[in-house]
Every structure is written in C-alpha cells, then in structure tokens.
C-alpha cells in the first residue's frame, strides 16, 4: 500500500512538473466546461442563415418569409437559384429554399417547396430539416385549414339543404302512397263492375210463340166467325156476336201485327231494334270490359311504379337521413382540427433547461473519456520510456503495484477534474446539485474503464506519439459510435447492436438518466454492472499483458540503450 502511494505520488509529481500536463490536467477541463457553459447555456434558437428563392416575391412568399423570421432565422432573398445554391457551397447560407410564388391550392396539384442542403454538413442537415419542417408544417397546415374550411362550408350547406328538401320528399312519398291506395280502390271498383250481358233474358221464341198463339187465336176467331155465320143466329145476337168477334179479330189482328208484323213499331221490330241495341251495347260493354281490364292492368303497373317510387323515395329518404345523421354526428367541425388532427408537440420528459442541460451528460463523459484514455496511455508510456524503467525491475514490488499506481494516479487526477468540472457546472446548472454524488460515482467507474483502455494502449504501442494517437483514435471511434455526433439509428443494425456495449454509450446513458431524469439506482444496475464488468476484465487483461510484456519491454529497453552506446563507441576511436 505504501509502495502504491509512493508510486502514485511520484507519478503525480512527474505529471505536475511537466507544465503541459499540469495545464491539461487542471486547466483544460476548467476551460472546456467554461467554454461549453458560456456557449450552450442558452435556449435561443439556432442561428441559421436561410436563402429564399422565388420567381416572384408575392404576398404568399412574403408571408412565408415572415413565418421564418419569427424564429430569428436570418433570411436572404435570392432572385437566382444558382446563386442561392452557390452560396451554400461557399458557406454563406445553410440552406436554400425554393418557394413557388403562390401557395394557394387551386387544383389537385400540390405545391412544391424545394430545400437545397449541403449534405457534407451532415449534422447540420438534420438540424435544419427538423427546425424548418415545423415551420413548413405550420404553413402547410394553414393552407390545408383553408381548404378544409371550404369543404366544411359546402358540407354544412348540403346538410341544411338535405334537411329542407327531406320534407318535400316525404310529401311526395305520401302522395305517391295515396295515389297507390286510390289506384287500389279504382282497380277494386273496376273489378266489381259486371259488364256481362245475359242472353237468356232476351228469348225471342216467347214472342214468336205469342205471335203464333195470337195468330192461332186470330185464326180461331175467324174460324169462329165463319162458323158463326153458318149458324142461324138471330141478327141481334149475330150482330152482337159478330161485332164481338170482329173486335176480337181486330184486336188479335192488331196484336198479331204488333207481334208478328214487320213494320216499325211492332214488337218484332222493337225487339230487333232492342236486339240491335243490345248487341251494340254488348259490343260496347265488351270493349268497356276490355278497356277496364287494360285499365286495371295499367293501374296495377302504375301502382307498382308508384310503389317503386315510394320505395325509391324511402331509400332516398333513408340515405338522406343517414347522410343527415352522419353529418350531424360529425362532431369535429373545426377546420384546423380536421386539417391537423395530430399536433406534434414535444413534451420534454425531463425538466426544461438550456442546451447545456441536454448536452452536459455527453460532454461530461466525453471529457472523462478523452482525459482518462490519454492519462492512462501517457502514464504507461512515461513509465515505459522513463530512464528509471530498468531500475524499477530491481525493486521488490509486485507488477500489480505498478499497474494500480498508474490507475490510482489517473483516478486521482480524474477526481480532481470531475470536481472541477462539476464545481464549475454548478454555476450553470444549479438545479442538478442533488444528482452530483451519483454522477461522481458513475464518472469514476467510467473513468476507470477508460483509464484501463488507455493503459492497454500504452502497453501495446512503442512510442508516446503513436500511443496518444491510438488513444485519440479509440476515443474518436467510441464517440462516433455513440449517437452524440450522428444518431445511432442511422447506422447498420449490427453495428447499432454493438454500439450499445460501447462504454461511452453506457456511461453517457447512466449520467443522462441520473442527471436529467433522476432515475433511481434500481433502474441502472444492469448498465452499472456492465461498466463494472468492463473495468474488471480490462484490469485482468492489463495485468496479463504487463506480465507477458514486461520482460519483452525490459529487453527492448536494454537493446535500445545498448545500441546507442555502440554507436557512440564507433565514434570514439580511442577505445577498444
């Protein structure tokens, strides 16, 4: 333990006495956090220069520009698209927007607004897209709202008209129904009409029989008269009888004439007339009956049509009712709600803060990562390349002591740095004091992992320059695959799954959860254990590497110095 402290103290002395190291160790983090604090302790929008090109700067375009200017974007108007694009290339503006002179939608053709971005500024591209998208959405929503309002007005009118005209349709339906009913009555009435003529009631044989009988009676009368004349009857009686017979004969004659005569006014002629009339009537009645049948059929058809009409009216009414019900059931009648039923509202799951609040976890881990990596590498390199390296071989110390001393030196320096950073950060982030102890613990764990990584690189590489370069490269790779520079979602799924095991990602996640969301320890133990596991594994790897490499390093050290002396010998001619 004493040896460990002695070696650590020696390491610290050596680091502090190298002015550059002291500067890096003490002032660099202070400076970094001060600069970051002053730079990002703001919630002001991004300072973007936006070029706007349009064939004509109409009221629509100007209104669009005004929308953008509300967010303090600096707007530069261009009358040439080429110049606008060229200025992006030259870095004068960040994006160029081509806006049509009119934003009114008058047909089914969408209006196109074209963005021109410099894809090489990949981090800015996303930011510009995101920032401006909201503005465009707002404008598009305004336009959509107008269009929707127009449709809604039309719908409202249609609803009113349906309400109004539905009564008329009902009346039409009722009338149709009544007509149909009347048709039934007519058909029924017509059906009840009997236009048939009974032939038996017109039996003329009776008349002929009567005529025959009258003729026969007449004949009998005549025969009686003849017979009477042959008889000697008193004149008086004869006269009376003859007169009576004559009268009877006359009357029978008359009756016979009436019955059997052919003259007009006789029964036969009357019957003939009557018969003719009857035939005519019968014919007419037949025609009437036929007409009645046709009328009945037509009335049936008419009724069917009327019923169909009623059914159709019913359908129309039902549809209108449904339509009306639907229209009435449409509770959302506000154009803005219909045009933008979903409003993108970003609710911050953590407390509101400045950019520094959100960037702080990543920045903190970034500083810790690079400093730990570099310190780890530098200290191992310092020891390896120190003239005293060989003398340490004779010291009665375990290899673990040297490793632990290097680690302890880094950790002590990191503790100093973390305290400086967090101390300074309190000035900017006053609300985060409560989470500082937890953050210190996580940072120490992360620092240990990065220190061992740095030490590993220190053992691997020969010169300090290459070691430091390797540390910076490793740090850069971890940073690049952390989602801080580019979203992890944009990398391949395989790489993405690997990046979740990136110590930087783990540490940053832990700090973010503690610092921003104040998550309880119980929710962090998996990541903490992973980080701790890394630390243990790396320590063992370094121990093995040191054991394997130490002898090799001593030999290399000896060889190097021996070669230098041989070269000196060659120059020295006075020696053997």
């Amino acid at each position: 333990m004493r040896a460990l402290l002695l070696l650590t103290l020696k390491n610290l002395k050596l680091l502090v006495r190298a002015k550059a190291s002291a500067l890096i160790v003490v002032f660099a983090p202070l400076l970094i956090i001060l600069i970051l604090g002053l730079s990002y302790n703001t919630s002001a929008p991004y300072g973007l220069n936006i070029g706007v090109y349009s064939t004509s700067f109409t009221a629509d375009v100007e209104s669009f520009i005004t929308t953008l200017q509300h967010d303090e974007f600096k707007i530069i108007k261009y009358d040439s698209m080429d110049k606008c694009v060229n200025d992006i290339k030259l870095g004068f503006i960040h994006t160029c927007i081509s806006v049509p002179e009119s934003l009114a939608i008058e047909s089914n053709v969408q209006k196109e607004i074209v963005f021109h971005l410099d894809p090489s500024k990949i981090n800015l591209v996303y930011m510009i897209q995101e920032t401006l998208k909201s503005k465009f959405n707002l404008k598009a929503q305004q336009l959509s709202q107008d269009l929707t309002q127009n449709i809604l007005t039309q719908l409202s009118t249609a609803k009113t008209t349906i309400g109004d005209k539905k009564g008329l349709l009902q009346t039409a339906k009722d009338k149709n129904t009544a007509v149909s009913s009347q048709t039934d009555t007519i058909v029924s009435t017509l059906s009840s009409l009997d236009l048939g003529v009974s032939e038996s009631t017109y039996d003329l044989a009776v008349i002929s029989d009567t005529g025959s009988k009258v003729s026969t009676a007449l004949d009998k009368v005549r025969e009686a008269k003849t017979a009477f004349e042959g008889l000697n009857v008193s004149s008086g009686d004869t006269a009376v009888l003859t007169a009576a017979l004559d009268e009877a004969e006359s009357k029978l004659k008359s009756a016979n004439n009436f019955i059997n005569g052919t003259d007009a006014g006789t029964i036969r002629s009357l019957v003939a007339i009557l018969e003719a009339d009857l035939t005519s009537l019968k014919s007419k009645l037949t025609s009437a009956s036929t007409a009645l049948g046709t009328a009945s059929t037509d009335l049936g058809t008419a009724k069917g049509s009327l019923n169909e009409g009623v059914t159709a009216i019913d359908d129309v009414l039902s549809s209108l009712n449904t339509l009306q019900t639907n229209l009435e059931s449409q509770k959302v009648t506000d154009a803005s709600t219909i045009s933008a039923p979903l409003i993108t509202k970003i609710e911050k799951v953590g407390p509101e803060g400045t950019y520094l609040n959100y960037m702080f976890p990543a920045l903190l881990v970034l500083v810790v990562m690079f400093t730990s990596l570099l310190l780890g590498t530098t200290l191992v390199m310092m020891e390896k390349n120190s003239p005293a390296f060989l003398r340490n071989y004779f010291l009665p110390l375990n290899k673990v002591t040297f490793i632990m001393a290097t680690y302890l030196t880094t950790v002590l320096l990191m503790v100093t740095q973390i305290f400086i950073i967090l101390g300074v950060s309190i000035f900017f982030l006053k609300d985060s004091v409560g989470s500082l102890p937890y953050m210190i613990l996580i940072l120490l764990l992360a620092s240990s992992v990065f220190t061992f990584l740095g030490m590993g690189l220190g053992y691997l590489f020969r010169s300090e320059e290459t070691g430091v370069l390797a540390s910076i490269s490793l740090g850069s790779i971890m940073l690049f695959l952390s989602g801080v520079i580019l979203p992890l979602e944009s990398v391949s799924p395989l790489l993405r799954s690997i990046t979740f095991f990136n110590p930087f990602v783990l540490a940053e996640k832990l700090i973010r959860e503690v610092f921003i969301f104040h998550t309880a320890w119980s929710g962090l133990w998996v990541d903490l254990l992973t980080l701790f596991g890394y630390m243990v594994v790396l320590f063992l790897v370094i121990l093995i590497a040191e054991t394997l490499l130490h002898k090799h390093l001593v030999h290399r050290f000896l060889k190097h110095h021996h070669r230098l002396h041989r070269e000196n010998d060659k120059k020295d001619t006075g020696k053997v």
Binding site: K10, P387, A388, R391
Partner: protein, 313 residues
Amino acid sequence: MALVQLKEVTKEYEKVPILQGVNINIEEGDVYGIIGESGSGKTTLLNMITGFLQPTDGSVLYQMDVTGPARDLSVDLHKVKKQIGFTPQHNSFYPQLTVKENLFHFGKLYKVPANTLVTNVKNLLTFTRLFEHRNKLADHLSEGMRRRLDIACSLIHKPRILVLDEPTADLDTNLQREILSLLQQANKQGVTIVIASHHLDSVEEICNKVAIVNKGNVFCHGLIDDIKKPFLKENVTITLKPGGNKDQVLQLIRRLPVEKIVDKGATLVVYPKDIQQTVSGLLQLIKEQNLYLNDMDVRKPSLKEIFEMITKK
C-alpha cells in the same frame, strides 16, 4: 567463498550462441571487470548476472549468507535482486524528480527503514558530492553528476553487489577518474563491484579481477596479475625527437639482443631478449653515438596490450 558463481552459463538468441560455457566466480569484495569488444557479449553476461536475462543453459548462483546454500538467480530472483545494485549504461532515474527525491523514492520502494534511509541519503549525497545539488531536478545536473546520482540510486539500499555497465562511457578523462574513485570508495565500504567496460585502462586501474570476453567466450578470467603472467614481457618505449634519424636509431637497436621492434611512428617499442642487457646497451648507444631521444620508458605490458594480443590471436 564466491558471492556470485556462473556455472557453464550459455546464452543463445534464436539458436545463435551469444555466450558459451562461461564459468566465473566473483568473490565478496572483488572489483570484477568484464572486458571485451563491442558485441563480444559482455553486456549479455552482465544482464545474466543481474537476472535481466535467463541463461539458456547453466546457472547463476548467489551466496546470500555464509551458512546457507547458494541460490539460483532464476529461482530466487525476487530475494536475490534486493542484494543487487545496478547502474546501466544510461542514466536510470527520474529526470523530473530532484536528486533527493530520486534517492528517497527508490530507498522507500526498497523498504529501507526511514531513519536508515535519511542517513543513507545524507551519506550518499556527501559520498557522491551531490549534497549541494540535492534539490536540483536530476534533469538539470551535469553528465558527471548524473552518473554519480545513478550510482547513488544503485547504492541507496546498501546492496552487496553493485553491477555497472560501462560506468565511464561517454565521460571525459576527469569524470572517468571521478567515477572510478567513487567506485573504489564504495568497494572499500564493502560493496562487491562488477563492471563491464571497454575502457581497459579504467578497468585495470580499479579491478582486481577481470574476465576477458571475446566472440562469446570468456577467454580468461581471474586476477589481473595472473592474467598478465603469460604475457609478462617488459618492453622499452623510445620516443624519438621530432626530425631525428629513425633509421639510424633502428639500425643501432637491432645490434642489441632484441626480440622485436614495433614501429609506432613517433615511438619505437622494443621487446628485449634480456631487459638489463638491452637497457644498458641502449644507454651506451646514446652515450657513444650521441643519440638524442625525447624519452625512454621501461614498463610491463598493459591490460590493453594483453587484450589486443589476445583478440588478435
């Protein structure tokens, strides 16, 4: 009793032998020099003595106490290395710590008791003459001071053996002398010292024993005097006057009983068959022929010369 024993130590790199069958004994209190050309394998040998490298074959044994058995470095490295102080070729301390901080840092890590450590630091600061500079950053010290601090750091836990790899390399003569003196003083205080160096003069100056490493083999090892014995032939070095007649001098010397004359330009090294006859003959020649010489030196062969002779064989 040997503090360190290397028994049949062999080291191979990718099946290429770097060192073969090395047997060395380093006694307590020795100042042991390991010498050899660049690439001869001396640093490898040193690294095996300190435990940085494991021998491919053989063993490095440390006698930790008088009674106990010798400990194999590959088995008891953790216990043995507390007894070793190592000063590598380059400086091995923290440049951004002060002199005092470096010493306290390593002392504390060696678990030296606090009171002892304070005394050790004070003594070492005085011993290495760094007391005045104790609060200076190590990076701000001169090269000589740095080397002294490095040695002080190696001695902070009072090791029994101090191993130094090229301690005088890249230093000027004065600094070399300073460091050697420091090591001699440390040795006097009971620290066994092992030095790998190609500065043979320096090694000869302070070491009592050496091992000469050549092409992966320890050619010879032991006390310097013992190593020199087979090569113990005195010679006379004559420094000629600039513009003098060298040919005439050579002709006259050849009349004397000499085995070999080595012409080194301004100097002539004469290896006599009989040193006394040759020296008296030379003196007579100078008198008779009125030869005017700048200097004449009669001496035994140096370790460097012996080394050259060995490596040329």
